[in-house]
């Protein structure tokens, strides 16, 4: 018993170290795994529990209605995460813990509402629906995308302009760029000029026409060509190999249209352009038509599932 819990604790200690374990120390971890099947079993149990937590994070919002968990959020501002996890993120990522909180201001939007922000230095930001952007009044050239999506049109000045998102810094080098932060991914798309992602860390420079996706759970950065950055402002979306659940999320954020996809559809990848006008029933019909699915209305929700509408 005592030994089992000791092994479980060792597994945890390793697991906590892995995100920052230097390359040359990995053999020690491998040797620990190999030295006993009890080690491996303990680690696999932990890895599984960890994966459950990781998988639960994005699903908590979607399942919130079913889970009947306490939600402290205004339902008008639905987020991916609700209940306990959202509450703790709000406490942690929120203002109260920042030093000098008084000079900070949070711009928020409800799903379907865009906010245009203009700054004294000439920088303009379009904030997509269901998004939050933190502004520091003592330094207007440092912003933080708390969640959602924003298009930045930055006036290039000697003083650097930075956007923080998901714990990473993006440094502007005279630019128009789009940042989208979800629980799973951080996406950056550059349409003019260039930005530097994670200066001092990954230190990746993205030029006009380039983009990147960071898989937040795995810390994987994939550089790619830019998507139609900021097209959402005019209701034009371009997707490449994007799960339909993310497409539905993009539509919800921009227009507030609530779409639930059947389980079979949500993971299916979608590539193509969608142009939407903001009329819910037309937009849903168009979207469902594009993916060859059927749809029906359920309260203020649209349910899209496999099979043709007639």
């Amino acid at each position: 018993m005592a030994e089992a819990s000791l092994i479980a604790d060792q597994a945890i200690a390793w697991h906590l170290r892995l995100p920052e374990l230097p390359g040359h120390e990995w053999p020690t971890f491998i040797e620990w795994l190999e030295s006993s099947s009890a080690h491996r079993d303990a680690y696999e149990r932990l890895a599984e529990a960890d994966a459950v937590l990781g998988e639960a994070a994005p699903a908590l919002g979607a399942a919130a209605g079913v889970a009947a968990a306490p939600t402290r959020y205004n339902p008008a501002r639905r987020r991916w995460l609700t209940g306990a996890i959202a509450a703790s993120i709000a406490l942690v990522g929120g203002w109260t813990l920042w030093p000098g909180a008084s000079s900070l201001q949070l711009e928020r939007t409800a799903p379907g509402t865009i906010k245009q922000l203009a700054f004294a230095d000439g920088t303009r930001v379009e904030l997509n629906g269901d998004s939050a952007l933190a502004l520091d009044q003592s330094n207007p050239r440092a912003m933080k995308l708390e969640n959602g999506e924003a298009m930045f049109r930055v006036r290039h000045l000697p003083q650097e302009f930075t956007v923080e998102a998901g714990g990473y810094k993006i440094r502007d080098l005279g630019t128009v760029f789009n940042v989208q932060l979800s629980d799973r991914n951080l996406r950056i798309d550059v349409s003019e000029g260039s930005v530097e992602f994670d200066p001092g860390g990954a230190n990746l420079t993205l030029h006009a026409g380039e983009g990147m996706t960071l898989d937040r759970a795995h810390g994987l950065v994939v550089k790619r060509s830019a998507a139609n950055a900021g097209g959402w402002v005019n209701g034009q979306f371009a997707f490449a190999d994007t799960p339909l659940s993310d497409v539905a999320e993009a539509i919800r954020r921009r227009f507030g249209t609530k779409i639930s996809l059947s389980e079979g559809l949500s993971a299916r990848p979608f590539t193509g352009n969608i142009r939407l006008g903001g009329n819910e029933s037309e937009d849903v019909a168009h979207f469902a038509g594009l993916i060859g699915a059927q749809y029906r209305r359920d309260g203020d929700n649209w349910v899209i599932s496999e099979g043709r509408s007639r």
Binding site: L21, R40, E44, E48, A56
Partner: protein, 184 residues
């Protein structure tokens, strides 16, 4: 070229990556698939420069190992192989199961809600936001070792929770030998 750098490091350390996969209980054939998968990612996806490429590759491998193991368990459920081992399998529907069901989600939320605020915050920052322990210490105004202890306690609770609620995955597994040699 940074890509060439990471590719070279992958090739030079391929044996160690493979050893990690095997140590994680991935079968030999599947380990080779994972290596191939990693190579394709390295070649095609132009992974940007990273500070410690070997550490990056090992993390990629261990994450892929977890994904594979979970996918393997789901496959096991689907193929009904599990029914022959455990009567519980009859309750498992045919279609692919999510890792977590709505009722488990509610229990998980309840577990998180029952945690002390700092513990929950530390866990979410670590696991959901992917912050370093150093960053968490700064955010929560705690010492590094305090954060480490908090996270260790949180994970202990999570593992116990998982043991108490094995739920949709066939938690009581076949023998370890079965796992390392599975697939064919």
């Amino acid at each position: 070229m940074p890509e060439a750098g990471i590719a070279a490091i992958f090739l030079a350390n391929r044996a160690m990556v493979r050893r990690l996969l095997l140590a994680r209980g991935i079968g030999a054939d599947e380990a080779d698939e994972v290596l191939q998968d990693m190579w394709v990612r390295i070649e095609q996806s132009r992974i940007g420069p990273v500070a410690d490429p070997l550490s990056y590759l090992m993390r990629m491998a261990t994450n892929l190992a977890t994904d594979r193991r979970i996918a393997g368990q789901r496959r096991l459920v689907r193929e009904d192989a599990w029914t022959s081992l455990q009567p519980v399998g009859h309750e498992v529907p045919d279609q692919e199961r999510r890792l977590i069901s709505a009722s488990e989600l509610a229990r998980l939320e309840a577990l998180l809600a029952s945690m002390p605020v700092h513990m929950r915050q530390a866990l979410v920052l670590f696991r959901v936001e992917g912050r370093s322990q150093r960053a968490i210490a700064d955010i929560l105004g705690m010492s590094l070792s305090g954060v480490e202890k908090l996270l260790a306690r949180a994970y202990r609770q999570l593992v116990e929770f998982r043991n108490d609620h094995p739920a949709s995955l066939p938690e009581r597994r076949a023998t370890p030998g079965d796992r390392s040699k599975s697939n064919g």
